[in-house]
């Protein structure tokens, strides 16, 4: 876009600036419209799952409900408590939503990349990490017991789940050899656009772990402890009303949307799909955008489905799930990913092994054989780790169910 503007006679810096501003506006408008649609989509679909109708009065099928709610929150009075730290109280929603919006900067829209950072994965992680700061500010600045409890719980949850989330991406980076989202999407374009990472054993486990940890990062049920309304009112949002509350709500949905986009990019091949390369040009780009949005909304539907079916976890269950279930599996997954990459790229990157065992021929048959060995090996490691950790968790649960605390303290059982 910048080149076209330069040809029109603008100075080069000016054309870059104008192109960037147009892109930013498009992304922000698209993001907010998408978020509005998602609130309606979630409420409608969860209503049908619970045998009711949901919002269906404002506009066709209730599609204008989010707009009416935006107007309603705009005109609501906004009370800041007398004892609150006014500045921190005001800045908390700004930090939350600002960080979320910033993570949209690097997301590829199908084959359209607004920007190609070589550290895009790190950028997404970093902007996600800013959430805990906003939450702590909201909890601390409100000067309310419930808010502080919710803020502390929320930060403990966010930092606990950040580790499995961040580490689950490492296999993807390993397989690509780059942290640029564009390279990651390009690397998943084999097999007529279907060489997605989720189809490899390593990627499958990574996908499951990343998506689960992201549910907790986005405070979705069953991990919505920070705002568990039956326990601590509304958690860190207790003292927020009017537009500030709406900004928190907006940030929540936009971060869930961003998580769906990132998961679709990292594991489900982004905009890749059958027919994109064959069409090429603008039509191929549009098709890739359609694929990308379809994948993301399918992921969001899974989120809604989980919300409708799984009850909320207890705080201790939540913590041990992150540290004793997700984290060991993530470590095993990194190990098997390194084996996977080593087996598949043996001749390119393993000169020593080639010296010892002879160079594998590049004929297709051998490559298929190596692929089969890699699949069996990593599948065995990953499935074994999952089975083992499930057994351990089950035994722990039964121990706590059937033995008394005294026996546990003495180590009798």
């Amino acid at each position: 876009m910048a080149d076209a503007l330069t040809q029109l006679g603008f100075a080069s810096w000016l054309s870059v600036l104008i192109a960037s501003i147009i892109k930013v506006t498009l992304i922000l408008v698209g993001g907010s419209v998408g978020m509005m649609f998602l609130t309606w989509y979630e409420r409608r679909s969860i209503s049908y799952m619970q045998d009711r109708r949901g919002p269906n009065r404002v506009g066709p099928q209730g599609l204008l409900q989010p707009i009416s709610e935006a107007i309603k929150t705009m005109t609501k009075e906004d009370a800041t408590p007398r004892d609150a730290d006014k500045i921190v109280h005001f800045l908390a929603p700004v930090v939350m939503l600002g960080a979320t919006v910033l993570s949209f900067a690097v997301i590829p829209w199908g084959r359209m990349f607004p920007v190609d950072l070589n550290a895009a994965v790190l950028f997404v992680i970093a902007t996600g990490g800013l959430h805990s700061i906003g939450m702590m500010m909201a909890g601390w600045g409100s000067n309310n017991k419930f808010a502080l409890l919710g803020g502390m719980r929320g930060v403990a949850q966010l930092i606990s789940y950040e580790i499995p989330q961040v580490m689950a991406i490492i296999p993807v980076v390993l397989m690509t050899g780059s942290m640029s989202l564009q390279k990651i999407v390009e690397a998943q374009n084999d097999f007529a656009g279907l060489g997605w990472y989720v189809f490899s054993p390593v990627g499958l486990l990574g996908f499951a772990l990343f998506f689960t940890a992201s549910l907790a990062e986005g405070e979705r049920t069953p991990f919505d402890i920070p705002e568990a309304d039956s326990e601590i009112i509304a958690g860190y949002m207790t003292e927020y009303s009017g537009m500030k509350f709406a900004v928190f709500y907006l940030s929540n949905y936009m971060s869930n949307l961003a998580v769906c986009f990132v998961t679709a990019t990292l594991y489900l091949g982004g905009g890749n799909g059958p027919g994109v390369d064959a069409l090429g040009g603008i039509a191929g780009g549009l098709l890739s955008l359609v694929y990308f949005l379809l994948k993301s909304f399918a992921l969001f539907f899974v989120m809604v489905l989980i919300r409708a079916t799984v009850p909320r976890l207890r705080v201790d269950q939540l913590m041990s799930f992150a540290w004793k279930f997700l984290l060991p599996l993530v470590l095993v997954n990194i190990l098997s990913a390194s084996f996977w990459v080593a087996l598949l790229r043996w001749d390119q990157q393993w000169p020593q092994l080639t010296e010892w065992f002879g160079a594998p021929s590049t004929a297709d048959a051998t490559n298929w054989g190596r692929l089969a060995i890699a699949i069996v090996l990593t599948l065995l490691i990953n499935a074994g780790a999952v089975a083992l950790i499930m057994r351990l968790t089950n035994r722990n649960v039964q121990k706590h169910l059937y033995t008394t605390d005294e026996e546990l303290a003495l180590g009798l059982s």
Binding site: L97, L117, I163
Partner: protein
């Protein structure tokens, strides 16, 4: 490369204005009639008793420590993952050793009960 980060800079400015816009806009539209009761701290309808900033259990601190340890480990793991293709067999053994040390640390914290929420 520089244009890429210029784009991120512009996006950052937009990201800060994005939440401020509705907040400022609503301040022109909404009513503002504060009363003494409305501005009091919410606590089940009663006057708030005692200090708000209470002591917290030490468990939060242990989790924060464990988080710092594992976060630093990810800082080491990312460059390794990017350069894995160029480093050859050495990188694999090195990282197996590193992951083993990590796992020992995790098992130690687990056995010591640092990961229990009591």
């Amino acid at each position: 490369m520089l244009t890429n980060y210029a784009f991120i800079g512009i996006f950052a400015v937009a990201a800060i204005t994005f939440p401020l816009l509705p907040l400022v806009l609503s301040s022109f539209l909404r009513p503002n009639r504060p009363t003494q009761v409305k501005l009091s701290t919410y606590e089940c309808g009663l006057e708030a008793i005692g200090d708000i900033w209470v002591q917290f259990k030490v468990q939060y601190y242990l989790y924060a420590l464990a988080f710092v340890i594992f976060d630093i480990e990810t800082v080491f793991l990312y460059p390794w993952a990017v350069a894995y293709g160029q480093l050859g067999l050495f990188a694999l053994f090195e990282m197996v050793v590193f992951l083993a040390i990590l796992t020992i640390g995790l098992v130690y914290a687990w056995k010591k009960g640092a990961l229990e929420w009591i």
